[in-house]
């Protein structure tokens, strides 16, 4: 009798361990799949207001209401086995950028808070950060372009034009310069860039941005970073008036250097 009870207890324990092992191995495989999915791409561009990526992965319920609310063809839901995390909304600026609706309908449609309700001004959105491949940028290589500057919806703030010395002592260049403090990552510049492959691209800011550390003392506040290279000559004293700078090629005619 006692032996029988012991036997059944032993059988029960064995069953328990077997069950736990099955659950553990299934759980490991499952976790592996999940982790693979969740890190499928380091730079999925999310709709405006998206909370940080790890939190976004948890909160997004993959319902697609942001996709439906988007009045353009910007947002898509990733299908299975795409390079994007499954079912999550993203956009590819080269195909269709975010046109930055002032009322942010995608954020309004989000039921879970994966697109944060705290975002009120679309210019505060940080979907990504535009970076320029200066080796292939037409302007940086001495040609005249300025398309990104002219197409930027945060005109004159997210992308500015800066004067740089010419190539091989040639004419001075007017080059685009991205300011992370204002760039929303909408990707219109990437979409409009005339080169074969976009030379200005929106990536996740964390991929390209460093952090200096609070203990460094800067000699002068220099948001455009121009002092890294040779300082530009003093701009000619032009009265810019109330309107500020004149966009694009007109600037040349008016002598209104940025």
């Amino acid at each position: 009798m006692a032996q029988a009870a012991g036997g059944s207890r032993r059988a029960f324990l064995i069953r328990l361990v077997q069950g736990a092992s099955l659950a553990a191995s299934a759980g490991l495989v499952w976790t592996y799949v999940l982790r693979n999915q969740a890190r499928a791409t380091p730079f999925a561009l999310r709709p405006p207001g998206a909370v940080p990526e790890a939190e976004f992965h948890a909160l997004c319920i993959k319902c697609g209401q942001c996709v439906n609310a988007c009045p353009y063809d910007t947002l898509r839901l990733a299908t299975a086995w795409e390079s994007m995390p499954i079912g999550s909304p993203y956009f590819r600026p080269r195909e269709y950028p975010c046109l930055m609706c002032p009322d942010i309908p995608c954020k309004e449609a989000c039921p879970t808070g994966a697109l944060s309700a705290d975002l009120e001004d679309i210019e505060d959105a940080r979907m990504g950060l535009a970076v320029i491949d200066t080796e292939n940028c037409l302007s940086w290589q001495g040609l005249r372009c300025e398309v990104c500057y002219l197409s930027c919806p945060v005109r004159g703030k997210a992308i500015s034009l800066e004067r740089r010395p010419g190539v091989d002592g040639g004419l001075a260049r007017i080059v685009p310069w991205v300011h992370s403090a204002h760039c929303t990552g909408c990707g219109i510049c990437e979409n409009r860039c005339p080169t074969d492959e976009a030379t200005i691209r929106v990536v996740d800011g964390s991929l390209v941005q460093g952090r200096m550390g609070a203990h460094y003392r800067l000699r002068a506040h220099d948001p455009a970073g121009l002092m890294v290279f040779d300082p530009p000559p003093e701009p000619p004293a032009v009265d810019r008036g109330v309107e500020g700078r004149v966009p694009g090629l007109d600037a040349l005619n008016l002598g209104d250097w940025p």
């Binding site: 999940l34 909160l59 209401q65 439906n68 086995w81 039921p111 879970t112």
Partner: protein
């Protein structure tokens, strides 16, 4: 006090057993298939409404009719709906959800608690037609099971999904759910999610009868638990039953048709019953019918006085 009728397994019913035969006339067939037709219509309609709102801008009062998908949606921009199991998983990731989706999950949960948890499975879920097709085909081909699994396995998968949500910080099942994949891709664009559905189809067809829906699916397990308090149930009238077994033959969850237990309670109690209505038309004695739980007792007592016998 011994009442033979309360021990139905002990001896066959007093009347001769008649087997079920499909009627010859088209009208008769359609009547027999009425729940099947209704289920397919509902399943199609659900997908159509979501699809048309997304692609053809169907709207009501200028608001999108039903925007989103089965994971979460919004009806005319007013009523939120959400998959309670998905929301539960997200809660297990320890993230704070917006109120809207919590209300939505509450509405859906209350709805299925009322009409039967697994009504979702047989009337709404887009995977159901796929597995039903696999089941039908496997019957035609006369395939036998290549694997045996316990039908309770799904509850362990359910628990595992919640544990993994806690551990990984991701809604574990939502990231791999073939149901969500199929439904999402039907509405928002076809992709490789259909591969997962093809996997389920093959598994159900070749490996195990009702393998996915009846053994593995944690969403079905979740709705089984919800269905325990369901108010719409199959009423079982023991007095007319001849134990012919036709109902059990067509039932995708035959364990719920435990006729001894059903005789005691007068209804099919298990939450695993999907309210698909397969058993109702095939019963030669009309012993099974849809009914509301509070009325079942009274209806069964009423039928003590007369025994309706259909002549087919």
């Amino acid at each position: 006090m011994t009442d033979v009728r309360h021990e139905p397994g002990a001896e066959p019913g007093p009347r001769p057993v008649r087997l079920y035969g499909l009627p010859d006339s088209l009208g008769g067939k359609l009547w027999v298939w009425r729940y099947l037709i209704l289920r397919r219509l509902t399943q199609f309609l659900v997908i159509l409404l979501f699809f048309a709102t997304a692609h053809w801008a169907w709207n009501l009062f200028g608001e999108p009719l039903i925007s989103g998908n089965l994971s979460a949606s919004s009806v005319v921009g007013l009523i939120p709906l959400a998959d309670p199991f998905a929301v539960l998983q997200i809660l297990f990731t320890r993230h704070v959800l917006a109120t809207e989706v919590l209300i939505g999950a509450g509405i859906v949960l209350a709805f299925y608690a009322l009409i039967g948890g697994r009504v979702f499975c047989s009337w709404v879920c887009p995977v159901n037609p796929v597995t039903d097709l696999a089941g039908w085909l496997r019957n035609k081909l006369g395939l036998s099971n290549a694997l045996h699994l316990n039908r309770s396995l799904r509850y362990y998968v359910l628990v595992l999904a919640l544990v993994l949500a806690l551990v990984t910080g991701l809604a574990a099942f939502e990231w791999v759910s073939p149901i969500a994949m199929l439904h999402r891709e039907l509405i928002f664009g076809i992709g490789m999610g259909l591969i997962g559905v093809a996997g389920i189809f093959l598994f159900d067809l070749m490996v195990l009868r009702h393998g996915w829906c009846g053994h593995l699916c944690p969403l079905g397990a979740f709705y089984s638990l919800v269905g325990r308090v369901a108010q719409v149930r199959i009423r079982f009238d023991e007095r007319t039953c001849t134990k012919c077994g036709e109902c059990i033959r067509v039932c995708p969850e035959p364990q719920v048709l435990n006729l001894n237990q059903a005789a005691r309670r007068g209804l099919v109690t298990s939450g695993e019953c999907t309210n698909c209505g397969r058993c109702v038309p095939v019963c030669p004695e009309a012993s099974l019918s849809f009914d509301l739980r509070p009325l079942i007792q009274r209806h069964n007592q009423m039928s003590n006085h007369y025994s309706p016998r259909r002549t087919s």
